[in-house]
Amino acid sequence: MHAAVVVFPGSNCDRDLAVAFEAAGAKVSKVWHKDTEIPQGVDIIGIPGGFSFGDYLRCGAIAAKSPICGSVAAHAQRGGYVLGICNGFQVLTETGLLPGVLLRNAGLKYICKTVGLKVETSASAYTEGYNAGDTVNIPIAHHDGNYFADDETIARLQGEDRVAFTYTETPNGAKADIAGILSDNRRVLGLMPHPERAADADHGGTDGQALFRALTGALSAPVT
């Protein structure tokens, strides 16, 4: 599997994400936000956490209009895989690749701690290494992780089994406890928690490993 990790000014989880992909067996290329092309043969694009463009205007809004994002959208529209974590999730909602928006945390505070997540579906290349109903412990680190969409959109996400993860105890006010959602073709995942920070035993947890391993397994398997 070949993964591309996009780097914006202010990204700060790009290296961690690259390391997690590599540990799962992927080849990784980093791509700068001013690039206009994703390297040939890339299976998945990772949009990392951080504070792209200083969170100016709205989190992810300026990154979503950067030159590389046209190629990210084209990759997704061709059926390519895109994983957006934390600020990456915010970028994906701003590009319109995922519905809804991430608002300021209901308690107004930046929250950095490990939280419990319930795996809502195992039916995706990202979550097939888990069982639906599993609880996993993954860190969060965000100021704007309060997922919001209108009731109709929330009902559609739930009805189409597109909620990937929910919080066991919502830390940020997210509607329907939503921590991560899938696109309608289930190939784009955005989530606020950081599985790449729980992918190495030395980091105090390995519950995120299954996500990267499942991806590598799914995307490296011969096409049938």
């Binding site: 205007l57 928006v101 107004l108 309060n146």
Partner: protein, 76 residues
């Protein structure tokens, strides 16, 4: 030529910052503040010939996220 864009959260979208300001005002003794909504103002310095339609396009594409925000444009 100047344009001024006001961006506000839509009704029904919780505004925790506005709520925090409302609480602070109450704690300071300002009574009778029933609600506070916090938005932003963006001033644009435009080349001659720019139209309101241009600014509206800017709002739709970047300045506002119409999932949660509404905007108004003042020209001149």
């Amino acid at each position: 030529m100047k344009a001024r864009v006001h961006v506000m959260l839509k009704n029904g979208v919780l505004d925790p910052q506005g709520e925090a300001v409302r609480h602070a005002l109450g704690a300071m003794g300002f009574e009778g503040v029933n609600g506070v909504r916090q938005g932003k103002v963006i001033e644009l310095d435009l080349a001659e010939g720019a139209t309101e339609a241009d600014v509206t396009a800017m709002c739709e594409k970047l300045l506002a996220n119409t999932v949660i925000e509404s905007y108004t444009v003042e020209m001149g």
